[in-house]
């Protein structure tokens, strides 16, 4: 089966699943398993397509449906770049679907008829969006399919007015993005040109436009620039770039049920990355380089990325709602990807071999970070979902000491937190490392990039602060009154295996890619080899990074080294040594309560609030905005639907 056929099959399977789940929606668990089965099937098909593309190169574009008079064709093409995003969607959708089954018990008051069909169509739409070559009609269809189902999912808990508000904002922003992108595509339409693929008047087809673009660039540079600016805005809105992201993203992501948040944050906003990469790098043929103001676009994207990562992350610092914090940090992480992409564009503008290599390194970093963010952010949203499931709140001020009650979720959340914070040995570090290497050594016209990189490194420390707070307050600290009350009501707060397994899978992937970044790098390498179009051809030629099991990843001809396997051996040995040292004196262990100066007994009032974290620092970032969510209605224990006793 060709990759394109596999993708159509996957989409059809999802569609079929949507019908089926809508039909059996009264039996919630059955509907859930059917949905999971469909997602599993479509994921398998997708993996097949991805594997084929990566191993044997891309096939030919396949046209399924043509309406020649309108230039209307369902033409799919899966190349390396699409394969990466398809793979990511399939990888994240699978755990999210499994997680949904048990998680939706949380929403007994709402029918699953509005959940599973939308969930499946949402996934199908994303598959379509990253594999279609039609920049106009089918782009529109898939985009709207994704937007509307996403809208339904965000307003799933429709009793809460804030959710409706969030969903409406999401819908409005997505329509603006859609319009911007389509107007851009319209401006690039290959009118009056006949070429190899244009026999059917597919003037909005990617290949046609690409072929036509050099001419357009030469004759109407302003028009092309406006079109590209519209692409930047459109996909920027999707990706959550500053200043657009702040409008919809922090409201929409927390409103949706957690598995959907995982999909929204983990993969949906990545379609924006896909669009930007596809249009800015793959659309323009390298011959047109002289007319294509690549360095300028690169600089804009890189600076935009730097602002986004800084603003998004510092705004996240002010949040005390788990999912809202994660949503803001998604904006910030999107900034890293943009920085990598911008650096790539900037550096590619010069013809210097060393800089081209760095440019490829930047793109490796951007793609790698896209994958990583998809993995750890979905994981973190699932963690937040588990917390919500167990305690009924997203408010970190009311959380504390959960590690004792849900150790499994705690450990996976720690992995997620360390990954996103960019701690060596976890995947987030590997991709940030690529981006830093590429940007710090930038030269020529891209001399501002090292400054951007230092801002990014600074921001990664803020990310660390963010996730020390997220993890520390929820899972460590002291048990809060809410957690104590919940723990007293049920034998165990830990979620059941159907919710643990997805977290385990994602956490394993995070650690795996952290220890073996060569796997991801080699996938990206193969993907670039399989995307020979536009500047993809230039990028495919360079091999910025080499790898091996022990010597890890080496860039810049061995001048940048990251060898996690060797590193983990050293750290592991030293941990063993540290443990041995503590055993040396034969010290006795004793458990007690914290010291409170010897008079007052500990009460819940002594707990350090999430609100209070980093006060001295937050004061300096108030001007950036991003106010935390207003306090929720009082007495969350009494009001949330009582979580069911865990099946486990």
């Amino acid at each position: 089966m060709s990759p394109e056929h596999a993708m159509v099959a996957a989409m059809l399977l999802c569609g079929l699943g949507a019908l089926l789940t809508g039909w059996v929606a009264s039996r919630r668990t059955l509907a859930g398993w059917i949905a999971f089965g469909c997602v599993a099937g479509s994921s398998l098909l997708t993996f097949h397509a991805v594997a084929r593309v990566l191993l044997y190169g891309p096939g030919k574009a396949f046209t399924f449906l043509t309406v020649p008079q309108m230039g209307f064709a369902l033409r799919l093409y899966v190349d390396g770049l699409s394969a990466i995003f398809l793979g990511l969607i399939a990888t994240v959708a699978l755990p999210a679907a499994l997680y949904s089954i048990a998680y939706l018990d949380h929403y007994r008051a709402y029918s699953v008829r509005r959940y599973y069909p939308n969930f499946l169509l949402f996934i199908a739409a994303m598959y379509g969006l990253v594999s279609t070559t039609d920049m106009m009609y089918f782009f529109f269809i898939f985009w709207q399919m994704m937007t509307l189902t996403g809208y339904a999912l965000i307003r799933y808990e429709h009793d809460k007015p804030e959710n409706l508000h969030a969903a409406n904002k999401y819908l409005a922003m997505m329509q603006i993005a859609c319009a911007a992108t389509m107007i851009g595509a319209g401006m690039l339409a290959a009118k009056g040109v006949t070429g190899a693929v244009n026999s059917a008047h597919l003037i909005y087809d990617f290949d046609t436009v690409s072929e036509h673009l050099p001419l357009l660039l030469r004759e109407h540079p302003i028009q092309v620039a406006v079109a590209f600016a519209l692409f930047l805005v459109g996909f920027g809105i999707k990706l959550g770039t500053w200043p657009f992201g702040q409008i919809w993203l922090p409201d929409a992501h927390p409103a949706a049920p957690s598995p959907v948040s995982a999909l929204l944050s983990g993969v949906m906003i990545k379609t924006g990355v896909y669009g930007l990469m596809r249009y800015f790098l793959w659309l323009v043929p390298p011959e047109a380089k002289a007319d294509y103001p690549m360095a300028m676009w690169g600089a804009i994207i890189a600076v935009l990325g730097t602002i986004t990562l800084f603003v998004g992350t510092t705004q996240a610092l002010r949040q005390h709602q788990t999912k809202r914090l994660l949503a803001f940090s998604s904006i910030g992480q999107g900034g890293y990807i943009l920085l990598g992409l911008g650096a790539c564009l900037c550096l590619l503008a010069s013809s210097d071999a060393r800089l081209t290599n760095l440019a490829a390194f930047g793109l490796y970093g951007a793609l790698f970070h896209t994958i990583n963010h998809g993995l750890f952010k979905s994981l973190l949203f699932l963690n937040a979902g588990s917390i919500l499931h167990a305690t009924g709140t997203q408010d970190m001020n009311k959380l504390g000491g959960l590690m004792k009650h849900m150790p499994f979720t705690a450990i996976t959340a720690l992995i997620g937190s360390l990954s996103i914070a960019g701690v060596p040995l976890f995947n987030g570090f590997a991709s940030k490392w690529c981006i830093y290497v590429a940007t710090l050594q930038a030269d020529g016209a891209a001399r501002f990039l090292p400054i951007c990189a230092v801002v990014a490194i600074f921001t990664s420390a803020i990310t660390l602060a963010l996730f020390m707070k997220f993890f520390g307050v929820s899972f460590l600290s002291r048990t809060s009154s809410l957690v104590a009350a919940q723990a007293a009501r049920q034998p165990s707060l830990e979620v059941g295996w159907m919710m643990r397994l997805p977290q385990l899978v994602l956490a394993t992937l995070c650690v795996g890619l952290g220890l073996f970044p060569m796997v991801a790098l080699s996938i990206i390498h193969h993907a670039l080899q399989a995307s020979q179009q536009g500047f993809g051809t230039v990028l495919a030629k360079s091999t910025p990074v080499t790898w091996g099991l022990w010597r890890g990843a080496q860039g810049l001809g061995g001048n940048a080294v990251l060898a996690p396997v060797a590193l983990v051996m050293v750290v592991g040995l030293l941990i063993v040594l540290a443990r041995a040292l503590t055993k040396l004196g034969g010290a006795q262990r004793r458990q007690t309560v914290p010291w409170l100066c010897g008079y007052a007994r500990e009460t819940y009032q002594n707990r350090y609030h999430a609100d209070h974290f980093y006060g001295a620092l937050k004061r300096y970032f108030h001007w950036l905005g991003g106010a935390p969510a207003k306090p929720q209605r009082p007495a969350p224990v009494a009001q949330t639907p009582s979580p069911p006793v865990n099946p486990a």
Binding site: L440, P450, F458, L476, L577, A578, A587, R607
Partner: protein
């Protein structure tokens, strides 16, 4: 396994041993000198060794909600700082090039802070959390200084390799090394903060929050944390020396080690002197101070990009 790998492993091992042996001694020197400045007799030079040994046998009290996390945090703290020891040059060039570059080194130093913060969070005491907060805030504002210092070197030598960057690379500019000299100044006046001594021992401020994150730790755990603090003093000194005072190599390994340690000792003496003559700053004052230095260092970075 190739010969190169064996040399890397041996070099890293040698560094760990050097740090483990020398760290308490440096602490001893610091205490003795502090006492002298304060007109006191002071403890014997090897008192820190005794302290560590004694602590190892003392009762190990765990007061947090998740003792396994408390234990893990201690081990991680020790492991992280000793891994850094493997990467930093002591005398000869940086030994373990194979496991990472300067970017890895920077993040490993962060990992050490993460361990302390996890320890504070796991202990759960209010004071620990205040301390952990302060630790995190200073980490955020301090890290860029070290990053810029190393990155300037990396830009000058077009490489992130440890043995190339940690060898006075800050002065290897194409033009006059303005950026290196600026960073030398910046790092000198912020060095105290990296080793967390007065006036920047804010996270542990004994008279305010009673050792902050470490408050709930005793016995062997405290011993390891103390060891890590002592090691930090040596390692940051070594890092500073390698970046900014690279001169005076003889090529003879044992002699070079001694010379390097002597330079580190000078740094320790400086730290002691500053610590003894200053009052502790408040967190917000420290942040403003660091912010100014970060601003200056970004200017230095700009100069480095243009070859100065």
């Amino acid at each position: 396994m190739s010969g190169k790998a064996i040399i890397e492993i041996l070099g890293g091992l040698a560094n760990v041993v050097i740090v483990l042996i020398v760290a308490p001694f440096f602490e001893g020197v610091l205490r003795k000198l502090t006492a002298r400045i304060q007109s006191r007799q002071g403890p014997p030079l090897w008192q820190p060794y005794y302290d560590l040994l004694k602590l190892l046998g003392k009762e190990d009290i765990e007061s947090g909600e998740s003792p396994p996390m408390q234990r893990f945090a201690v081990y991680l703290s020790f492991a992280a700082i000793m891994t850094v020891a493997c990467l930093v040059p002591f005398g000869s060039h940086a030994p373990a090039n194979g496991i990472g570059d300067v970017l890895v080194l920077i993040y490993l130093l962060t990992l050490c802070g993460i361990a302390t913060m996890l320890a504070g969070l796991a202990a759960g005491s209010t004071y620990s959390l205040i301390g952990m907060n302060r630790e995190m805030m200073s980490l955020i504002t301090l890290e860029p200084l070290l990053v810029v210092a190393m990155v300037i070197g990396a830009i000058h030598v077009h490489s992130f390799r440890l043995d190339q960057v940690l060898a006075g690379s800050v002065y290897a500019a194409a033009g006059f090394p303005w950026s290196g000299l600026i960073m030398l100044g910046v790092m000198l006046i912020s060095f105290q903060a990296f080793v967390q001594r007065v006036p920047f021992d804010i996270a542990e401020a004994e008279t305010e929050i009673m050792e902050g994150p470490l408050m709930e730790y005793s016995g062997p755990k405290l011993a390891l944390f103390k060891y890590v603090q002592m090691a930090k003093l040596v390692i940051y000194s070594a890092l500073f020396v390698a970046l900014f005072i690279p001169w005076g190599h003889t090529g003879l390994y044992p002699l070079d080690v001694l010379i390097h340690l002597a330079k580190c000792l000078v740094m320790v003496l400086g730290v002691t002197w500053v610590a003894a003559t200053h009052a502790r700053y408040r967190m917000d004052q420290a942040i403003r101070y660091y912010a100014l230095l970060v601003g200056i260092s970004v200017i230095a970075l700009g100069m480095a990009v243009y070859g100065y």
